[in-house]
Each structure stands twice: as C-alpha cells, then as structure tokens.
Assembly symmetry: C2
Homo-oligomer: 264 residues x 2
C-alpha cells in the first residue's frame, strides 16, 4: 500500500520502518518540526512536508501517529476525503473522525512502548484494529497482518480498557523498578542485582495467571514482616504509602478469591 | 561439601538440586512434614528425618531454608555446635544465630522467587552472602560461586533493603499484572495481549535506568487522560486509588529530578 505518515515521533518511526520492511511504500512524512520530518523521511526514502496543505493525495491511507492533543488539532485541519485515515492512539475513540468527510476511517493501535534508540521486533507487537466499515476493516487487518502476527479486532471501549491495563503493567511497572532502584541506592547496592528476579517475575506469567503466582508477605498474611518494612520506609512517606496500598490490595484480592471459592 | 538441608519447601528444593548438580553431597533433609522431607530426599538421593534430635552431625554446613517464623523456632531447638549454620532469608538478620554455640554462621540468600513447578537456571540467581568471620565468609563465597555466577557480599542492613526492593519489583509487580488481567476480563480481553508490552518493559531496563525509561500520561503531565482513566476506574475505588497514588509518585519523581537538574 501507499502510505502517508502523519507524525515523526517514536510510534511513527517504528511503524514506518516496519511497514517499509513489509513491502509497503511510505509516500510522505508530515511533521510540524522540519528536522523530525526530514529525519524519518530519510530513513524510509520518502518525501516529507511540514505544511498540512502540502500533504500528498497520492496515497491509500493516512496513518496519524501524533500525541493525543496533536491528533485532535490535526483532525480539525485536515480532510482525508476519499482515502482511509486512521490514528494510532490507545486512548482516543474512533469517533474523533466522525466529522471527517471521509467515511473510511479507523484505528491502528500498536500496543507497545516505543523508545527512540530501542530496536524492537514489530512482528510480536499486538496491533489493535477498529474500522468504520467492513471493507476498511479488511484493509486494515491485511495491513496489520503484514507487519505483525498478533492482530486483534478491538472496539473503542475495549481499547480504553486495554490502555488503562497497559498503564498498570508498563508505566506503573516501570515506576516500581524506579522505586526499587532508588531504595537500593541508599545502601549503594546496584540495581543489576534485581534483574534476574524481574525477569523471573515475567517468565512465571508466561505459563500461569499472575493471580496464581502471587508470593510475598502480603499474600502470606505475614503482618510482622510488613510492619517491619513499613517502619523501615518511614523515611519516605510516599513509598510507605505505596507499600501499604499495594499490600492491602494483594490481601483483598486473596480474600475475594477465597470468598469465591466458598460460593456454592 | 557435605550439606544438611533444613526445610523442604521451594527454596530448599531448588537449592538442593543446584548444590547436588555442582558436585556437593546432600547428606540429609530435615522437615517437620514427613512427606516433604521424603520427597526432596528422594530427588537428591539423601537421607531424611522429621526429628530435630536426629539431624546428622556428619556435615560441613547446615542450610536452614525455612519460613521466617519456622527459622526462629528451629534456632531455639538446634545447636550447630562446631559446624557452619546459615539461613536463606531476606528479612532475618544474621544475629539470629548469636545465641548459638557455633561461632561459624552466616546467611546464604538466593534473591529469587521460587515456585514448585517452575524450573530455574540457578546460575543466574544472585546469591547474597554474609558471615560471622572471614574464614566462614570464604567458605560461603566458594559454595555460592559453585552454584551461581552472581555472588554478592551483603550485610544484614543491606539485605533488609534488598528484600524491600525485591517486594516492590516482584510482589507488587506481579500484583499489577493481576490488576491488569482483572481489568481486561471486564471486556473479555485476553491477558495474552499485554505480554509483549510486559516483556519490553523489562527489556528496556536491561540497558537503561528505569527512571530514564518512564513513559505514559503521568510523566507527560497529561491530566486530561489521567482524569479520564480515574473516572473510568470509579467502579473500583481500590484500583482508582492505586492509579492515583502511582501517578502522583511518577509526577513527584519527575519534579525531584528536575529540581536536581536545577541545582548548581
């Protein structure tokens, strides 16, 4: 397919490279920032522009990979006319395109965290598709399948939920690593020492549900150890609060499960 | 070395298998529960007992791999005499052995989460050593190095900190996965869909500090998306509270870092 990419950030870059590798042609890259547009255009040997009214019409699809706020602004300025237009956001409903003259629109949401210098196997990334109509849906499914083996049909409501769940595992998960690193620094211990444990935490849930894999003082109900840790964390009321809340949540989860077991 | 293992749970089992594989001899396994003792003894072709006064004296070292409470009770009943005695706990100080007649004691703490049916490459597991004296320290270092390539000298204070940090990444990390799974179930979405993201969250910190890898609405200061998510989570006040607290913590962490940058 011929593709115009709106945006030149992390998502746009990783997506453009994967699409090109799959045999599609990136016709043009648009970005407000000339440098970014130029940089990505160079990588995929395409044209580029920084002007909305210069965006090419010689394309099958517009993929808008902008930040949520930028996406709203862009949609107000640009008409896809009879071409397909999709966005790549987890938190914006497909209905943002309702006012477009195009009747072919949708969402192409790769569920992954992209960083500038981190290469990634796009083939493993779940791509969540939603479309205005069956024909567009088929086109998007085909496009998604050309870059990933994990393609899902996900509606806007589901995508919102998925985005929240992704924040829990990725954003909050990474923040727990940051807290751990910070705690270790107090005694000059290297973060390195925790990596095998972090890896194993992930490996365990490859085969089992995380709810079955819970370990530690909270699930054991070991109040003595927990109180000891809370006392120790008194130097950081915030970490103490997080320790307490997550431990309470683990305990509550266990109680809920035990309650369910008791159900006839 | 000749080793007597006190305990037959997950830690004892994984440790016994690794030690045997490294060429050491498990002389005997002790457990209160006959079935557990027998089961592990069979795996490492050793003797077993359920009686403290039947614990073998023909050993170089006693490795006490019991739960924290069980460890305290055991130490009151058993005298290692002139042999080395160590425990494997993250949260118990070495001084628990102070009342022992033995003057050779220490800690042999494998920093990992062990499950019954999950095989694990012991060689990658960090083993944290602490000892009563230099000679014992050298013996423990040698023993640890025979089963793992990651051996650290860690004192009791450091180990307490390490254990708390481990709870953040492992116990709390796994709980975040559980919450995500629970959220997805509301729309019948498979947890599977999040696994590539979870894997990437871990891969990123192989090369970079997690504090540099933070992404998402909280670090971007995207209050609109966060409020939207909080509204959505109103059906679960607990998850809402966790979302808010962790987002606040991410924001605060960013502010602290920016404050540091401004320092002359």
């Amino acid at each position: 397919m011929n593709i115009v990419l709106i945006g030149a950030g992390n998502v746009a870059t990783h997506l453009a490279l994967a699409l090109q590798k799959a045999g599609h042609k990136i016709v043009q890259v648009y970005s407000i920032t000339k440098e970014s547009a130029q940089q990505l255009a160079k990588k995929v040997s395409s044209d580029f522009t920084t002007e909305v009214n210069q965006i090419s019409r010689k394309t099958d699809i517009y993929i808008v990979a902008l930040k949520d706020k930028g996406l709203g602004d862009f949609v107000k300025q640009f008409e896809a006319k009879r071409k397909i237009i999709v966005h790549t956001s987890g938190s914006v409903p497909m209905s943002i395109f309702n006012n477009q003259s195009s009747i072919k629109f949708g969402v192409f949401y790769p569920l992954q965290t992209f960083s500038k210098n981190q290469t990634i196997k796009f083939n493993d990334i779940p791509v969540c598709i939603e479309a205005s109509d069956t024909k567009t849906e088929n086109t998007l499914l085909k496009l998604a399948s050309s870059v990933s083996k994990n393609v899902y049909l996900i509606n806007s409501e589901q995508r919102k939920l998925l985005h929240i769940a992704a924040i829990f595992v990725n954003n909050f998960g990474n923040h727990l690593y940051t807290i751990a690193e910070d705690i270790l620094q107090k005694e000059n211990l290297p973060f390195e020492i925790l990596k095998p444990l972090i890896e194993e935490t992930f490996h365990k849930i490859k085969k089992y549900s995380p709810s079955e894999m819970q370990t530690g003082p909270a699930i054991r109900g070991d109040k003595e150890v927990m109180q000891h840790h809370l006392d120790y964390l008194s130097c950081s009321p915030l970490y103490q609060k997080i320790y307490k809340l997550l431990s309470d949540s683990i305990t509550k989860n266990k109680e809920v499960k035990m309650l369910n077991l008791k159900d006839p």
